[in-house]
């Protein structure tokens, strides 16, 4: 009896916490569907009186957010593919292919994790400017092609590949690339999926670097376009909410579809230092 009461109380508290947590997101969706002006009405409405998609239509027809959506998808997709390839090649080698100075190099990379990205940003900007990559997609892709964190994540996982498996393949005459592609990649699939989600979400949500590099309206990613939209349309609450939904929805869908990999990745990554 006491146990049942405790359980009920616990679930009530949790449900309340969960509700408060998602409330801003629910309100965002709800307000984005309200007729213009309703989100600013007093007393405030939580549910639209009539559902309308006019703000989403305006975003696509009038404000060209489809372009920003495509930019975000293209950049996040390209970055994910390229960095997955480079990080997995390097992570596997750091775990399983001996070479001179390997351990020292790996320690150096780990130590460099304390350098915040902002330290390299200013010279990087000048460098990319010399290369003519400012205001191009490449300006965003090139600095993210490989990451220390990604190499680290793959290495920790690849350490558990049995060496006998790799040696057997070598005796059978398989080349190193072949071994990577048909043995290592399938073995590491769970961590590669995790890394893919991390990279995709990270680059989709990234703001500072795209803001600096992509000054041309046509190249803006969704977060940058949304921040600019706020400047002109701060009064149009429902429109801004629709823009926020458009920006957040793709990452939320990716997360919900693959959350098992994502959350387990954080759990294992944090504890296997």
């Amino acid at each position: 009896m006491r146990r049942a009461l405790q359980a009920t109380l616990l679930h009530l508290v949790l449900a309340a916490v969960a509700f408060v947590t998602v409330l801003p997101l629910l309100w965002m969706v709800s307000a984005s569907l309200m007729p213009a002006g309703e989100a600013t009405a007093l007393p405030p409405r939580l549910v639209p009186s009539a559902v309308t998609l006019e703000h989403y239509a305006a975003l696509f027809r009038r404000l060209h957010l489809a372009r920003a959506l495509a930019n975000s998808a293209l950049l996040a997709g390209a970055l994910t593919l390229v960095s997955l390839l480079l990080n997995s090649l390097a992570g596997y080698a750091f775990a399983k292919l001996p070479f001179a100075g390997r351990e020292r190099l790996f320690r150096l990379l780990l130590a460099a994790l304390v350098i915040p990205g902002q330290v390299s940003m200013l010279p990087l900007f000048l460098m990319l400017r010399e290369l003519g990559l400012i205001n191009t997609y490449w300006g965003v892709i090139v600095p993210g092609m490989a990451s220390i964190f990604g190499i680290f994540l793959v290495r920790q996982y690849a350490l558990s590949i049995p060496s006998s498996l790799l040696d057997a393949a070598r005796i059978d005459g398989a080349g190193e690339l072949r071994i990577y592609w048909s043995l290592v990649v399938p073995f590491c699939k769970p961590i590669l999926v995790t890394l893919a989600i991390f990279t995709f979400l990270g680059s989709w949500n990234d703001f500072l670097w795209p803001l600096i590099v992509l000054t041309d309206d046509d190249l803006h990613t969704l977060p940058v376009a949304l921040a600019n939209l706020l400047g002109e349309h701060v009064q149009d609450v429902e429109l801004m909410m629709a823009g926020a939904v458009l920006t957040v929805l793709p990452v939320v869908v990716v997360f919900l579809a693959l959350q098992r990999y994502y959350i387990e990745g954080i759990m294992s990554g944090s504890l296997k230092e």
Binding site: A7, V13, L14, V17, T21, V22, L23, P24, L25, W27, A31, A39, A41, L42, P43, L89, A90, A93, L97, P98, F99, A100, V114, I115, P116, Q118, V119, S120, L122, P123, M127, P143, M145, S147, I148, D167, E176, L201, N205, F207, L208, L222, P223, L226, A227, L230, V237, M241, G243, A244, T247, V251, V252, L256, I263, I266, M267, S270, L271, E273
Partner: protein, 314 residues
């Protein structure tokens, strides 16, 4: 078992008579290492040089206008009231939002992990949701939620009899408002790490404590929390490093205002470097950020060396 070519017998061994530089491992690590070296290490080092010059908009036009000024940017920084304000605000944010968000994470993790709770996965997912959202987008949403007249927050407070607060317009309240939003956005991440830590506490310890007559609170104090200590340290340092880089929240919600009350170091660096093109000065600011993060990391490493062993938590 024979090892082909014997090349696995140690770092740097030659591969079946081929010279050492033909080791295929180099082909595997080179693309990633080159990318990191060229686009991270070289610019990071160049940043040291940049901070010793007067690189500004004239230098962008022509390198002939570039002069080595050595410590002048750093001297200017020490005399710049905006820098001290940004430093103060950033520390305020880190020192308040950090512990708050860790406390929220721990409380949420304990709730979700409680033995009596069903649908653990569902609650975990829902509480984690803000973490994956785009900061700029939810910043927009919170900006409206904080609106003094139409905002939901003031309405909720009004129902409790608390007068309207001009959250983002009052210099005293703007930073607390940003902290609240940042805690909401981030607590789910550390919650998941704590949940993982809690799963690693051996069940027999609770049984033993229970036999000794320890109640829920005593178990929490004497079993759970001590065993979470290593996780705690890791979480604290990672959270602080992230929070030192405060940028998008004030950019979207307050532009650093009102009266510079939410100006952060990165926001100041962005303005100086990419709005006014005072890149030498901005590089000096970036180094202050680096020094703060480095100092914090070194202190933590030292704490960990002295702290309890990590064995139980890993």
């Amino acid at each position: 078992m024979t090892r082909p070519g014997g090349w696995r017998d140690g770092a740097g061994a030659s591969l079946g008579g081929r010279p050492r530089w033909m080791n295929p491992a180099y082909g595997f690590v080179m693309p990633a290492l080159l990318a990191i070296a060229v686009f991270f290490f070289v610019p990071a080092l160049a940043s040291v040089l940049l901070s010793l010059t007067d690189f500004d908009i004239y230098a962008i036009a022509s390198r002939a206008n570039l002069r080595l000024t050595w410590h002048e940017n750093y001297a200017r920084l020490l005399g710049d009231p905006l820098f001290w304000l940004a430093l103060r605000n950033t520390l305020y944010f880190v020192v308040v939002a950090g512990p708050l968000s860790i406390a929220a994470s721990l409380a949420a993790a304990l709730l979700v992990s409680a033995r009596l709770v069903r649908w653990k996965g569902l609650f975990r997912t829902v509480l984690f949701l803000p973490v994956v959202t785009t900061l700029v987008a939810v910043g927009v949403v919170w900006r409206y939620a904080y609106h003094p007249r139409i905002g939901l927050l003031n309405h909720a407070l009004g129902a409790l009899g608390v007068g309207p607060v001009d959250w983002l317009g009052d210099p005293a309240w703007a930073m607390p408002a940003i902290i609240l939003m940042a805690v909401w956005k981030g607590f789910g991440f550390n919650m998941v790490i704590f949940i993982a830590g809690l799963q690693n506490v051996p069940e027999r310890l609770y049984e033993a404590a229970s036999i000794d007559g320890a109640g829920t609170v005593a178990q929490l104090r004497h079993v759970t929390l001590p065993l979470l200590a290593p996780t705690f340290l890791f979480v604290a340092v990672m959270t602080a490093i992230g929070y030192f880089q405060l940028f998008a929240e004030p950019y979207v919600m307050t532009q650093g205002g009102p009266a510079h009350a939410t100006l952060s170091i990165v926001l100041l660096m962005y303005g100086e470097g990419f709005r006014w093109w005072n890149m030498g000065y901005a590089a000096a600011l970036a180094f202050v950020l680096f020094a703060l993060i480095l100092a914090l990391t070194l202190v933590t490493l030292r704490l960990r060396a002295r702290g309890p062993s990590r064995e139980l938590a890993t």
